[in-house]
């Protein structure tokens, strides 16, 4: 475990991470409401509870660095810089969405911000991330890649294949495992023998570290170290962030497979108020500034919802385009 992050961090960066977490929290909460009100087709896999991971990790990246994301990817893409209105429009399956309504929640992408797509196949993005890292290395751009995936994905064959490939070719790739202790309904205790997933990196010959994923600065610190390593040509790192999702696997899943006490214990360690207390205690933000952020984001989200609702739906034969 890495110890508490120092005060050397730039305060503006710390406040930006807070803004990101608030955006993710409020966007996801609103999306859940809209989904339950049956305004959004398909499925939603909520990121509520895991905001610190995306916020901390993406704060360590340049705009032109790449990420690959997962079915639970709203947090990642918001943290990487996507606009809430075009995201909401994609959830509403409108033509103004990032993917023109072609992809939906699980496939949001924006190449202008290095987002190579959320992926509906568990671990499907990991070898793609390796390819992007290979490409960055071959093109000598100093770009790095963060591949987000969960504890479940760490058992998938391609994770291991990509880890081995990244190791042998020293690819500028950060394997970011969000361990929320469940793969759908199967607890980590029942799906793998190991406790810390980060030890798997040693099997492939590169460093792995486990951090408290509910503290954005600890996540930031670990990812920043990994990013610096990668940019120096020293190869991959596995950063495991321990966190917890509030809702079940998908919105609508009551998650009866998780003990009530466990859920409540993690809800009690809500990363957002915890970080807000930290910011106030360390003189980075005042309570009024924090409240203002919440207000600003809430307004932005309502505007995003209005934008999405008013945007045009695709025509049926739009299905034939973009093949």
């Amino acid at each position: 475990m890495i110890t508490e992050a120092g005060m050397a961090l730039d305060q503006e960066l710390m406040r930006r991470m807070h803004l990101t977490m608030v955006k993710i929290r409020r966007f996801e909460a609103r999306a859940v409401e809209l989904f339950m009100a049956q305004e959004l087709p398909g499925f939603l896999h909520s990121y509520l509870g895991e905001e610190a991971v995306a916020a901390g990790a993406c704060a360590a990246l340049r705009d032109d660095d790449y990420i690959t994301s997962t079915h639970r990817g709203h947090g990642h893409v918001i943290a990487k810089g996507l606009q809430l209105d075009r995201m909401m429009a994609e959830l509403y399956a409108k033509t103004t969405g990032y993917c023109k309504g072609k992809g939906g929640s699980m496939h949001i992408a924006d190449f202008s911000h290095g987002i190579l797509g959320a992926n509906g196949i568990v671990a499907g993005g990991i070898p793609i991330a390796a390819g992007a890292a290979l490409s960055a290395k071959m093109r000598c751009t100093s770009q790095v890649v963060v591949s987000f995936f969960g504890d479940g994905a760490s058992n998938q064959g391609v994770f291991h294949e990509a880890a081995n490939l990244a190791a042998i070719w020293d690819l500028p790739l950060i394997f970011l495992c969000e361990n929320n202790f469940y793969a759908v309904s199967t607890s980590q205790r029942r799906h793998q023998k190991i406790g810390d997933i980060s030890i798997r990196a040693a099997a492939y010959g590169f460093p792995g570290v486990t951090v408290d994923g509910n503290h954005p600065l600890l996540v930031y610190q670990a990812v920043k170290q990994a990013v610096d390593r990668a940019r120096q040509g020293l190869g991959p790192t596995l950063v495991e962030c321990r966190t917890y999702k509030w809702m079940g696997h998908y919105v609508g899943d009551p998650g009866a497979y998780r003990p009530k006490e466990e859920v409540e214990a993690w809800r009690g360690k809500d990363p957002l108020p915890r970080y807000e207390r930290y910011l106030v205690e360390n003189g980075v933000s005042t309570p009024e500034e924090i409240a203002a952020v919440h207000q600003q984001v809430a307004a932005e989200i309502e505007a995003a919802v209005a934008f999405a609702r008013e945007s045009p739906a695709p025509l049926p034969m739009d299905a034939l385009a973009d093949l």
């Binding site: 993917c99 499907g124 793609i128 390796a130 992007a132 290979l134 071959m138 294949e161």
Partner: protein
């Protein structure tokens, strides 16, 4: 015109494209120092080095996935999967990722990747090394599927594949690598969606894929001796398919045999037959015949393998019964 081998035509196509465009690189098992399991990439590592001819660890899924990721971020990879039977290991990256990323992203992603592989039997390589699986890939929207039968075709089509901005599954044949043919020294490309008429005839149309083109031509020679003139057509690309050339021929001959090494059941022949039925039913004077592998795994013993994989004798027999 110079005669070169099919495998040399593959190598020359790759070499020319790698010289032309710095972004083109190769990734696969044993393609570098070893020159490829069928020597199709011999000499390329010596010329281009480790950076652009990458011997990968034994991970078809990682090879395919890395090729997808590299293609999405500005490079033009040609990923070799040693045997089409091993494409099974890479299926998610080919079918769920490469084929669909452009569409799902609303046109944002370009995935200019070529998956090069080889298929076919006739070498006692047994069930897991002798399949012909083009039908699986032809079934997936978002993939182009190419099966070249001659050195001339493989060179022109491979160059087109490398320059295509969409994913291409490029299927060579293990027993074609050492066949010779005329290949011009000057540069040329063959567009997709253009069938080749190898032989003209007015009694019977034979549509053949990959190595069956050669067997169809042999059969046609034999049939000519019996007064049956067969027209032999190679679609060359299954997706996109040049149906028009096939229909024009069937309109003339009224009789159609479709032949491929893939298993009969749900093979590409079934698709072509359905399309001809839909758009050219009234041209047909007889039912369409498919001459394909029997629906069993390809057996090891040569005598059994010859029984299972379609041969010249079966083609001749099918032709005779259609023209009786």
């Amino acid at each position: 015109m110079p005669q070169i081998l099919y495998k040399e035509a593959v190598r020359d196509a790759l070499r020319e494209e790698m010289i032309r465009d710095d972004r083109v690189f190769l990734i696969g098992l044993d393609i570098g120092r070893f020159g490829g399991t069928y020597k199709a990439t011999a000499g390329l590592w010596e010329e281009f080095g480790d950076e652009r001819v990458r011997d990968a660890p034994l991970s078809e899924a990682a090879i395919a996935g890395a090729a997808v990721g590299a293609a999405m971020t500005g490079l033009r990879p040609v990923a070799e999967i040693m045997y089409i039977d091993f494409m099974t290991i890479a299926m998610d990256q080919i079918v769920n990722q490469a084929a669909k990323l452009r569409y799902m992203s609303g046109g944002q992603a370009e995935v200019p990747v070529v998956f090069r592989t080889q298929e076919g039997g006739g070498r006692a390589s047994a069930a897991q090394h002798a399949q012909s699986l083009e039908a699986w890939f032809a079934h997936i929207p978002g993939l182009k599927v190419v099966l070249p039968a001659t050195p001339f075709d493989v060179k022109g089509l491979l160059k087109t594949a490398v320059r295509d901005d969409r994913p291409v599954v490029f299927i060579e044949h293990k027993l074609l690598y050492n066949t010779a043919g005329e290949v011009p020294a000057e540069e040329y490309l063959i567009p997709f969606g253009q069938a080749k008429i190898h032989r003209r005839g007015s009694d019977l149309t034979i549509v053949a894929l990959s190595r069956m083109v050669l067997k169809a031509l042999e059969a046609a020679e034999q049939l000519a001796g019996e007064g049956i003139e067969a027209e032999v057509i190679d679609p060359r690309t299954v997706v996109p398919l040049d149906l028009e050339t096939i229909l024009t021929s069937v309109e003339k001959t009224g009789r159609l045999i479709i032949t491929h090494e893939a298993y009969s059941r749900c093979g590409v022949g079934a698709e072509i037959a359905a399309r001809v039925m839909e758009e050219g039913l009234y041209y047909l004077e007889r039912p369409i015949k498919r001459v394909c592998a029997l629906d069993v795994p390809v057996p090891f013993a040569p005598v059994m393998e010859d029984y299972v994989i379609p041969n010249v004798a079966r083609l001749v027999e099918a032709a005779r019964s259609l023209c009786a």
